[in-house]
Symmetry: C2
Subunit: 351 residues, 2 copies
Amino acid sequence: MKIAVLPGDGIGPEIVAQAVKVLKALDLDISMTEAPIGGAGYEAAGDPLPEATLKLAKEADAVLLGAVGDWKYDKLERHLRPERGLLRIRKELNLFANLRPALLYPELASASTLKPEVVSGLDIMIVRELTGDIYFGQPRGISKLENGEREGINTMRYNESEIRRIGRVAFDIAMKRNKKVCSVDKANVLEATELWRQVMIELSAEYPEVELSHMYVDNAAMQLIRAPKQFDVMVTGNIFGDILSDEASMLTGSIGMLPSASLDENNKGMYEPSHGSAPDIAGKDIANPLATILSVAMMLRYTFNDEANAQRVENAVKKALAQGYRTADIWTEGSNKVGCNAMGDAVVAAL
Amino acid sequence: MKIAVLPGDGIGPEIVAQAVKVLKALDLDISMTEAPIGGAGYEAAGDPLPEATLKLAKEADAVLLGAVGDWKYDKLERHLRPERGLLRIRKELNLFANLRPALLYPELASASTLKPEVVSGLDIMIVRELTGDIYFGQPRGISKLENGEREGINTMRYNESEIRRIGRVAFDIAMKRNKKVCSVDKANVLEATELWRQVMIELSAEYPEVELSHMYVDNAAMQLIRAPKQFDVMVTGNIFGDILSDEASMLTGSIGMLPSASLDENNKGMYEPSHGSAPDIAGKDIANPLATILSVAMMLRYTFNDEANAQRVENAVKKALAQGYRTADIWTEGSNKVGCNAMGDAVVAAL
Ligand SMILES: CC(C)[C@H](C(=O)O)[C@@H](O)C(=O)O
Ligand SMILES: CC(C)[C@H](C(=O)O)[C@@H](O)C(=O)O
């Protein structure tokens, strides 16, 4: 098994180092090779996705990513910015299925800004389409109109097969969970998402056991706050998924705990924390590595089909939490504040 | 002063009746004329925005709208559905500036699913662009691709003047509030919103006293949950505004309390509650009319420039709440549960 390790920017390198430590402690037959991406790619090779990095990622079975982005690259031309490396690797590897769990850890319940009874036991799986929609649709760009004014354009596009394949991922996951899929669209206004809804309804015929519901995106944004436990699996397009998955993750109050997986048709995947690169705290050994470590668990589950080791990692994280270890972002009075590196050690010890 | 009264569907007629009662009690020199819109427009004239209704609205100084939509119209062709009437009247009247306050009433603080300390004193004004963006951009539709598959398309478009005029509304409102504007975009991915950000920055030079910040829409969806009180005025495009304004309104826990205004360049406006038509409770005299009554206050403030009467209405609503009157949606143990009509009477009495 070959893993491409792409630490990226900001806190990326330090959190990835902890995840690598955990992977090594599992003593599996894997090889890991590191390469730069994002701002680090730009520094190393003048490109947020250097050719050698893309080649490595293409040849690997799975990619472990830290995070990309740093304000210091904000002034670069658009195609050189760190985010573009991330968007391109998703597209090049055809990682169309982005899985973002929003899970509340009982030990961390008080970190949520929502009342405990509203979020206790929260366990939502958001399935976001990742290689289509307005993120990639042509035409796009900023141009001059006849009257001399600038106009900005982006295009939301979805075709049937794109919708069907992400729908399938959602239904398949729901079959292993509570058998409920909520498809989120804006079918009352946007034709692209009207097609989305039609295809989801067609597809649902193949999954008679799964209960399919539909929700407009504005209502979904409300319901996540009003009664988030009504959801099991949510499936939606790229831009709505971007917004709703971040909203859902914040319900838990500890985004430093949430992993993500981005899969292609063959379960090759890229695994990364749901949070960003947090350049303000980079290099200080205070970042929370647990989301990245839990991304390794997702890698074991989805790409390597190794449920046993996936659960071993997840249980080790739970044990470290139960033992009172906390990084600064999830620390509360009475628990044991540790750094990024020490948290990695605590998880390894708990394995 | 001429007001076009468009009750619409579902609970629309009963909540509008209460707002009309309040308007009459103010004893101003106004004339009101009623006309159907939405499903009611379709029933009356085969069109969710009948020509006569549009004419009336165009000739009026302000429009008071209830709500549109009912599941029973879901099977109609797209252009006949109630929502289309709403979208068309916004466009026809050039109501580009949608103001949606998210305000927490101290008496109703416990209705929020967020912890009291997170939302107490919440007072955000969301300024949403309402006649552009992917809601109206061409090309749009569902068509067949060469391989026989269907594809859905919508187009996000913004030009400089559209951005500048909504920006101005936001800055002007901020000048009367806490002088902070947060502009929400997805400039790291979407060029249309990269232009949005540039124009907001250019415009801010004219408002040296206002502090302008920028936030990506995914982060804004998180920050509204993490620390909503950081916001004063938020300004954003049509689709992001649709999502974020609903999210923000739900922070208060009482969407039945939130009014909205949609203004053109001359402060002609359409005023309506932020909530929907709730067909499930229509005709039962249990709907909350306060959002519609508070929309009348916004009408007095923004279109009729009558701050004194606007505050009179707002104070009457507060007094009715302080006296313990509650409709079912905001009722808690110990308060006095009343119906829609009785709540209207309570506000009139408090005037
Ligand atoms: C960094 C950005 C391009 C990216 C996205 O919008 O997809 C991020 O927000 C995410 O959700 O992974
Ligand atoms: C009903 C619908 C077309 C409308 C919108 O999306 O603008 C509504 O959600 C709103 O926010 O007023």
